[in-house]
């Protein structure tokens, strides 16, 4: 190979050392196998130089998308007839239309949450407190569990003065429910971004705390060679990180609440499958899962 060419390749690799290293390396590799290297070289330079700008462009775009989503979706919507789902999919989208029909057999209403990565926690928080509005006995039980939960977290090493505000906001909402407010009041609390996000943070902390307490069990379900603690720090505690089975199991067990999730995706079969967390529980909360998102279902 022409030495001039291989040298060029190296400089590119040097220069782009940083965030886009993976991308650039790929190009450089391609380069060495092909006689026509010139255009490839250019391709490799551009992302290298604009690496950070590129990063920031992505972040800016994410912000714009988030803003758009926020403008068109309340954090927690009013209760709507299930027929709104039918209109979301094309009439000839038989897989989904069949599954929605199947859903109709069991549920009549849906309440949507904003698809911002926090939807599971928000849907869970709202649905559970809503279900406790007219069940003061359960509410008292839940209040006791919630009140004690902060101490558990502090004992696990969470800093008290940083989690206190989140816990207080959560307790304030439970106390609001004790006063048997109108549903509208609860709904407007959940649509106040400050309050709502603090509740989400606290539910994330509870999830993380439970996963870490039971780490010897949950370790087996974590992919990528990460420890439970690392998993919590990367996938549970930061806002906007989506939830999976493992999060749901942990939160359900941490608060001793049973959750039923209906799974609706492109899979064959024409019926929606459901799963109860933890298994064998008597669920009070029904959530609808579509890939990447959770909403609340009502019978």
């Amino acid at each position: 190979m022409n030495p001039a060419i291989s040298n060029l390749g190296e400089i590119v690799a040097f220069h782009a050392y940083g965030n886009c290293a993976g991308l650039v390396k790929l190009h450089v590799l391609e380069q060495t196998n092909k006689p026509e290297i010139f255009t490839l070289t250019i391709k490799a330079i551009v992302p290298g130089v604009n690496c950070l700008a590129y990063d920031e462009a992505i972040i800016a775009q994410q912000d714009r998308i988030q803003q758009e989503i926020a403008n068109s979706n309340p954090l927690v919507s009013d209760r709507q007839d299930l027929s709104v789902l039918q209109r979301e999919y094309a009439e000839d989208d038989t897989v989904y239309q069949l599954k929605i029909k199947d859903l109709y057999k069991k549920y009549s209403y849906i309440r949507k949450t904003r698809p911002d990565g926090n939807c599971f926690y928000r849907a869970f928080g709202f649905a559970h407190l809503e279900s406790l509005l007219d069940d003061s006995k359960e509410l008292q039980k839940f209040k006791a569990v919630a009140a004690k939960s902060k101490l558990d977290l502090v004992n696990e090493g969470f800093t008290e003065f940083t989690i206190e505000d989140f816990h207080n906001t959560f307790m304030d909402l439970i106390e609001l429910c004790e006063k048997q407010p109108s549903l509208q009041e609860l709904l407007s609390s959940f649509n106040d971004q400050n309050v709502s996000d603090y509740v989400v943070v606290y539910l994330r902390l509870l999830t993380s705390g439970y996963l870490q307490r039971e780490h010897s069990f949950f370790q087996h379900f974590i992919e990528g060679g990460r420890s439970v603690k690392e998993f919590c720090q990367q996938e549970v505690e930061p806002m906007s990180k989506e939830s999976d089975h493992i999060h749901i199991i942990a939160l359900a067990q941490a608060l001793n609440v049973s959750i039923l999730v209906e799974y609706m995706d492109r899979g064959e079969g024409g019926t929606v499958n459901h799963h109860v967390f933890p298994e064998g529980g008597d669920p009070r909360i029904f959530l609808l899962y579509r890939p990447g998102h959770y909403d609340i279902l009502y019978k």
Binding site: A4, A16, I45, D55, T159, T162, F166, V201
Partner: protein, 325 residues
Amino acid sequence: MENKYNLKSPAVKRLMKEAAELRDPTEHYHAQPLEDNLFEWHFSVRGPPDSDFDGGVYHGRIVLPPEYPMKPPSIILLTPNGRFEVGKKICLSISGHHPETWQPSWSIRTALIAIIGFMPTKGEGAIGSLDYTPEERKALAKKSQDFCCETCGCSMRSALLTLNPNSHPSAEDHKAKKLAQQINFKAESSLSRQESSRGAESKPSTITEGDTSTSASQEAAAWPQAEVADPTPATGVEGSLPHTAPSTGHPLSPRQRRTQQHNHQARRDSREPTNRPAFALTARPPQDQSYAGSVVLIVVLTLALAALIFRRIYLANEYKFDYEL
């Protein structure tokens, strides 16, 4: 301060609490809000013992977003330290390339401990980082004690509690190191300022290892003067390159300068087979390590590329070129 802010704002509530929590200086860190702005704090941290930063006390600013603690604070160092660039925002990475992200349950204290834990780590890979030699860092650590902040009136000599040899800093150290592993910092900038110089540094350092160790001490001594005496580094680019580098006034460390020179040498060699005299880049590289480096590199590579394509077409078609074109 209490009546100036809306106490119902979650950020205000939280920051009041943190200000109370951090009121008294510790041996390792101290931070307080400015008198007239709860959303801007000044901090001092002690360089970790058993590192090049031993004996240093470093000062900086923390800027809190209105959404704090839902959004991360930005940290800006004001004392030259050889690890982080001075005056540039270091913020927690929210880039999709790194899974580590700010958590609302972290606090200003978390950020300070992370900064301490971060100092001895390698700067490579993180933008806004500097990779000065141990000698340079030690000299800066000594100098850092003389720093007085005009804004908050803090003197580094008295900013922190004196280190008590009987106390066990190892626990603190351990915590800091652990945190630093989790958190990922990067500078908040729209250009890859550091990238070219860091890239240049990675390879030739093996070549220059020998002379680095012998001459580093002299250079470390000479460097502070160089920093002052060298405010216009734009003389870097000579010859026929049309772009002159804009200067941001950031001096390079001696090692960076040398390695960059090396890299340019290598680049010149790589162009030689093309036999284009137009590319004879004779002088030192631009000392603005960042943006200018990228520009120069693009231009050089583009020209080299054009030359190669030109030559290829020329060879393929056996054109006779009119050189006056």
